[in-house]
């Protein structure tokens, strides 16, 4: 046996990124706590964080800003991870949670739910009813899961493969989106605002309930990722090659699809379809990892949290009292980033 090839270790620059990103993941929410629409003196915020502070400051920080930041971070991690998983198994750099119809399914179910709720509670369209806000995350998630499941079954009937999944996903997604749009157009009530706000992807008025709703999915989702690490590496190959290397392709493909569907559907349910996070963040992570695949996933998780926190902060600061929904901010920031990334892609 002859001299060994140079050891295959992570590129040093990529390794050094990890502490930096962990730092940023902690720093971003801290900054976001200190800045908001209500001008709180820095001292007051610090006092609240250390357990003191005035009642008003405590209420703003603990009941408004913190739950919002935490919800955003959890959703960001989930959407980015879901996007990364889908891009990997479909070998499609443009894949994101809307590819498996999750966003559209959630949209349709929330639209239907709001319509039914409004009409069953209130026959006169001029009075405002207390909308069942607390149900929205669960309803959205259910719609997303059902859509993902339907697309999976359609794909399963043929060979379970990336191309088939993409085609079924695009077709089903378009259908669900059209149905939702048709309902909205036919509905035409003033309550469309509620729906529009949810549709644009928003962290406005997100409370601890939302964070608590998301947390189990984030924890479970991140906990299974180590199990999926090696199967994912093989799923990057076409199925013949992956199976020759020993991959249980159909099982692993299904498992990864299920995890990404659950992560995306619960996140979309809680915060609406925040576009571009699932699409762009994995690309950023890949650039930073410089070809060292095992690093991409942790980077994706960290960058997902950071991106949503920072974009939401921007939306709050730039919009003033009429804050810009985060979905709009991520889209506005995402397009230039996407173009910049594509310029460097051969």
């Amino acid at each position: 046996m002859t001299p060994l090839a140079p050891p295959l270790v992570a590129h040093p620059p990529a390794r050094r990124l990890v502490p930096l990103l962990v730092g940023l993941t902690l720093l971003a929410p801290l900054v976001a706590v200190f800045f908001g629409v209500a001008d709180l003196p820095l001292g007051d915020v610090a006092a609240v964080l250390t357990g003191g502070g005035s009642a008003e400051a405590r209420s703003i920080i603990l009941d408004i800003r913190l739950p919002r930041i935490v919800t955003g971070m959890l959703a960001g991690m989930q959407l980015a991870t879901a996007g990364f998983l889908l891009q990997t198994i479909t070998r499609n750099p443009l894949a994101d949670p809307s590819l498996i119809g999750v966003s559209q399914g959630a949209t349709l179910s929330v639209t239907l739910f709001l319509m039914i709720a409004v009409y069953s509670h209130d026959p006169t369209p001029t009075t405002l009813v207390a909308l069942p806000w607390s149900w929205l995350p669960a309803v959205g998630m259910l719609g997303g899961l059902v859509a993902g499941g339907l697309i999976y079954l359609m794909t399963l009937r043929h060979d379970l493969g990336p191309l088939r999944l993409t085609l079924c996903g695009v077709a089903m997604g378009a259908l669900l989106q059209a149905l939702a749009l048709g309902i909205v157009a036919g509905w035409g009530s003033s309550r469309m605002e509620v729906l529009l706000e949810w549709l644009s992807g928003s962290l406005y008025a997100r409370r601890w309930e939302h964070a608590v709703f998301l947390a189990p999915f984030t924890v479970a989702g991140l906990a299974v990722l180590p199990l999926l690490r090696r199967p994912l590496e093989l799923l990057r190959f076409e199925s013949t090659v992956a199976r020759s290397f020993g991959s249980a392709y159909r099982r692993d493909f299904s498992a990864v699809l299920f995890v990404s569907c659950a992560l995306a559907a619960s996140a979309v349910g809680a915060v609406g379809p925040i576009v571009f996070v699932g699409l762009i963040v994995p690309h950023l992570a890949r650039k930073l990892a410089r070809g060292h695949f095992p690093l991409v996933l942790p980077l994706t998780v960290a960058l997902g949290a950071i991106t949503v926190t920072v974009c939401d902060l921007l939306g709050r600061l730039l919009g003033g009292a009429d804050e810009i929904p985060i979905g709009v901010v991520t889209a506005l920031c995402g397009v230039p980033v996407l173009i910049a990334l594509l310029r460097r892609t051969p």
């Binding site: 002859t2 090839a5 990057r236 190959f237 076409e238 013949t240 020759s244 290397f245 070809g291």
Partner: protein
């Protein structure tokens, strides 16, 4: 017997791509699979490797059915290199070859010294040790092909299937690959089945040859017997004859070309067209 296949039949929709295929493989045997385009060579390899569903028949490795084995267990017995495989973008040679160890490390086990040594051996066997850090898309076609062969070698399987492994290699690398196949079979007892287009290479490297025609195996035997069977001219629709080049070497198939029978010189007229 290492591998035993019987009555293997594969259908794609209405079309029967492989019918009644049989193969027996001893340890250390080199088997060439030849036949015209579309005669079922790739299908036969894929069916033997359990990669396409068989409508009928069995494949056994040491008495155990391939179809009943998990993919990971099978990958420890059998490595398969398809035609023109595609690797993910930005993957390096070393990363590709590491995938060959999945069958041994599984989901959690970390790569031990044995694994690293096998990876180094696999890279070295194809002369790619220096290329480990290079991205695959920066390599030439021949180098990339050798990287894939390294990945298959890293699986350390006792059966190796190669689907047209020499197609994109120049003659130097073709010979290198055939020599590597021969060394693997004789030094490590690896049984190799390869679909190959070059009849003379098949004749010179294989212990036995299977000739495919229209999804059926029409010949299974030693190169010498194939030379005297007269099958080649019929199956490939060519004229030619086997000639002995050396006393102990397999005969060489010399194909007739129109040019040799009725040579027409290059005239001013044909040049002007």
């Amino acid at each position: 017997m290492l591998l035993h296949a019987r009555d293997l039949t594969v259908r794609y929709g209405q079309r029967t791509a492989l019918s009644g295929f049989a193969l027996q493989l001893e340890p250390g045997e080199v088997r060439a699979l030849i036949g015209p385009n579309g005669s079922g060579k790739s299908t036969a390899l894929q069916a033997l490797a359990g990669l396409v569903g068989a409508a009928a028949g069995r494949v056994e490795i040491e008495g155990r059915s391939v179809f009943a084995m998990g993919r990971r267990e099978l990958a420890r017995h059998l490595a398969f290199l398809p035609q023109q495989p595609v690797a993910p973008d930005e993957m390096t040679v070393g990363q590709l070859v590491r995938q060959g160890r999945f069958a041994h490390v599984g989901l959690f086990k970390s790569y031990g010294p044995d694994d690293e040594a096998t990876i180094a051996w696999a890279l070295d066997s194809t002369g790619l040790a220096r290329f480990a850090e290079r991205p695959l898309n920066a390599l030439s076609g021949g180098e990339r092909q050798r990287a894939w062969i390294s990945a298959a070698l890293a699986q350390e399987a006792r059966i190796l299937f190669l689907d047209e492994p020499t197609t994109f290699l120049d003659i130097g690398y073709q010979v290198e690959l055939l020599d590597l196949v021969y060394r693997l079979s004789r030094e490590r007892g690896v049984a190799v089945v390869m679909a190959i287009h070059d009849l003379n290479q098949a004749m010179s490297v294989a212990d036995r040859i299977s000739v495919m025609e229209g999804g059926r195996c029409v010949f299974d035997g030693e190169p010498g017997a194939l030379a005297s069977s007269g099958l080649i001219e019929r199956v490939f629709r060519v004229q030619g004859r086997f000639v002995d080049l050396a006393p102990d070497a397999p005969p060489h198939f010399d194909v007739d070309l129109l040019r040799r029978h009725s040579p027409v010189g290059l005239t001013a007229q044909s040049l002007s067209h």
